[in-house]
């Protein structure tokens, strides 16, 4: 038998045959390691846990159109794809317009948004009734509801009064069945007027042209030439003029033609009457824009819920973005509120990245939220850290005391071993060996129980579970071994001072 095997045999015998004593030491190390491992787990998990909690304070980042740009849903989607999926808690788009309630001669700021996203970015919104689920359902702020006396289930008619729409705005949508009329300047300053009816599909169904001011054998023919007129039927506005052959066509006409956007339906110019043809197309396009822009549109909505926030949101009406688009015919957003689960530095990096990308979107942090979040997290983590350190110290004292008791109890044995010829080094080795063995065992016990402890705390306090950190096992074991070893040092030093002669005195 080698010395090492005897060494192990003595240590295991000491641990196994002195079970009750060793259990106490093991328990003291194990409990210390448990609380330590648990607290360390919580310490590292607190930011993640709390960040999720903090997101209930609302959005911490705003996306807005850059100067001179328009924020569309497509652009928003593109920008949101920058965020890793797990960090983006929610992103609520907002479009604000004033809608009239003609029956009461009042107007309200109405926000078009995505209610699923709102519930994530503004979890503090409280709704009496329910969030809109179907189309044409709206959420009315409490303040408005009290002013005009609507309740959940009430119906409201809201009217959109278009203001000026930019000339040639292709995005302006189209009302089927509308009658269009308009005029444009033709050959030598003469006015060419048109009137047209749109079919249910929004395409031209019928067109009449009054080109009486134009030269009869050239532009005047536009009034009667069936081949020319028939080509308008079934086409969607706006139109573009092609097949221009007239040598008289000057720069002005080309400019007018090119004003029609890409992808417009095309009509051939009447041979020898390019200017008149162009006037007809311009009149139609103009009439369409004027029509779309000028007609107020009214829709009836059902109130699905009353919004209570205690803030300015109570003075707004909220409806689904798709409903608002149907009413206004505009696909544009004023702002998107983002709730991003990340540290302040990371948020800054995201915001700078988005702004620098120059995609027509600028990002800003809601400082009020991010600052307080960072401060609260920092304090909480500091608190857990402090508790961890205190527990570590208490564990060391506890383990040290236990070890001290274990050694004192074995004074006679130590004296005997010394009398039998044990050197100070062997005594130190034997007790340290036991300490390390206990530390390892206690550490493994503590790492496992500590995880359970952290899990229980996490579930009860934060309401979410935590993932096991594999690194925690070796770290806890190492720390336990170190604590056990350090705790043993003082008692071992005392043990080595024991006089072997004491065993001879027949104590």
């Amino acid at each position: 038998m080698t010395k090492r095997r005897m060494f192990l045999r003595m240590i295991t015998a000491s641990l196994l045959r002195r079970r009750s004593r060793m259990l106490i030491a093991l328990l003291s190390i194990g409990i210390g390691a448990t609380i330590l491992a648990g607290l360390v787990t919580i310490y590292y998990d607190v930011p993640r846990q709390m960040r999720a909690q903090m997101r209930s304070y609302g959005a911490n980042m705003l996306l807005m159109p850059a100067d001179g740009e328009t924020l569309t849903e497509a652009r928003l989607e593109e920008t949101l794809s920058r965020f890793p999926e797990e960090t983006l808690v929610g992103a609520a788009p907002y479009r604000y317009v004033r809608l009239d309630m003609t029956s009461r001669q009042q107007s309200f700021t109405t926000a078009g948004t995505d209610f699923d996203a709102v519930q994530k970015t503004s979890p503090y919104f409280s709704v009496e009734g329910a969030y809109p689920a179907a189309s044409r359902e709206i959420l009315v702020g409490k303040e408005i509801a009290e002013t005009i006396g609507v309740k959940v289930g009430s119906e409201m008619e809201l009217t959109w009064q278009p203001t000026a729409v930019a000339e040639g705005d292709a995005s302006a949508d189209w009302v089927p069945g509308a009658m269009l009329s308009g005029s444009a300047e033709g050959w030598s300053g003469g006015s060419v007027s048109i009137s047209a009816t749109l079919g249910e599909d929004g395409k031209i169904a019928e067109i009449t042209v009054d080109a009486s001011t134009q030269t009869a054998e050239f532009g005047g023919r536009a009034q009667t030439d069936e081949a020319f007129l028939n080509q308008f039927v079934g086409k969607s506005l706006p139109l573009r003029l092609t097949n221009v052959t007239d040598e008289n066509a000057g720069a002005g006409i080309r400019t007018a033609m090119s004003a029609a956007p890409e992808g417009s339906d095309e009509v051939d110019a009447l041979t020898g009457a390019t200017v008149t043809s162009s006037a007809i197309v311009n009149a139609l396009n103009g009439a369409r824009t004027a029509s779309a822009a000028s007609q107020p549109r009214t829709m009836k909505y059902t109130v699905s819920g009353i919004l209570v926030t205690g803030g300015e949101e109570e003075g707004y009406i909220f409806m689904a973005l798709s409903d608002l688009e149907a009413l206004t015919g505009e696909d544009r957003l004023d702002v998107a509120e983002l709730s991003v689960s990340a540290e302040e530095d990371q948020l800054n990096a995201y915001a700078e990245g988005i702004t620098e990308e120059d995609n027509g979107v600028t990002a800003r942090l809601v400082k009020r939220v991010t600052k307080s979040e960072t401060a609260v997290l920092g304090k909480l983590q500091a608190l857990v850290f402090l508790v961890t350190v205190v527990v570590l110290l208490l564990t060391m004292i506890c383990v040290s005391t236990t070890m001290m008791a274990v050694v004192s109890e074995r004074r006679r044995e130590i004296g005997l071993r010394k009398a039998l010829g044990a050197s100070d080094n062997s005594i130190r080795g034997e007790f340290l060996g036991e300490g390390i063995f206990l530390g390892t065992l206690g550490g493994v016990l503590g790492a496992v129980l500590g995880f359970v402890f952290a899990q229980v705390v996490s579930v009860n306090v934060f309401g979410s579970s935590i993932t096991f950190q594999p690194l925690l096992l070796p770290v806890t074991v190492l720390v336990s071994v170190a604590i056990a070893a350090v705790s043993c040092l003082a008692p071992i030093k005392r043990a080595m001072a024991i006089d072997p002669a004491l065993v001879l005195k027949g104590e």
Binding site: M6, M10, A13, L416, R417, A422, P500, A501, L504, G506
Partner: protein
Amino acid sequence: MALLELKNISKIYGELKALDNVSLHVDKGEWVAIMGPSGSGKSTMMNIIGCMDKPTKGEVLLDGVDISKESSKKLTDIRRDKIGLIFQQFHMVNYLTAVENVMVSQYYHSMPDEEEALEALGRVGLRERAKHLPSQLSGGEQQRVCVARALINHPELILADEPTGNLDEANENIVLDLFRQLHREGTTLIVVTHDPEVAEAAQRTIVLEHGRVAREIINENFVE
């Protein structure tokens, strides 16, 4: 030839002279008993011979080497190599079995050898009890294990402190018989005792009083 020689040693604790100019000569293979009342300096002398203490004055020659000025580390080495100790209170490691207790002595001395340890237990008649813990052994059995432990490394000198002090007569006889065996094999024995019967088993008895050698009795009836 002298195995142990004390030359005019004194041990002084402040005012108290525990040993006062004591000289002693023990030959190799000799069996010597040391007697004396409490406070006579027996324990001090025992500690000095056992390399667990150093005299204030005088020389201690063990196997021709002066150990009176050695460091405690060196004394540990000498004790381990040359001396086998037997105590009044038996003193076993209470969580180790009988054979393991014998092996502890081997472990500190050289190499643990279970077979050899079992043989030593066989010599004291305890081979069957080898796997028992001290708590499962009687006092006499424990002391016999201690004898086995003391002789396992073949020491030059066996130093026994009241070896039969806590034993009944039957066990006392067993232990004394073991001593006789060891003596026949040539082992030097120094036995500190109160008990005249134990002292009479030795070849020679030194009586200490007040830190001095009061008298020396040669045992005429000693049977080889």
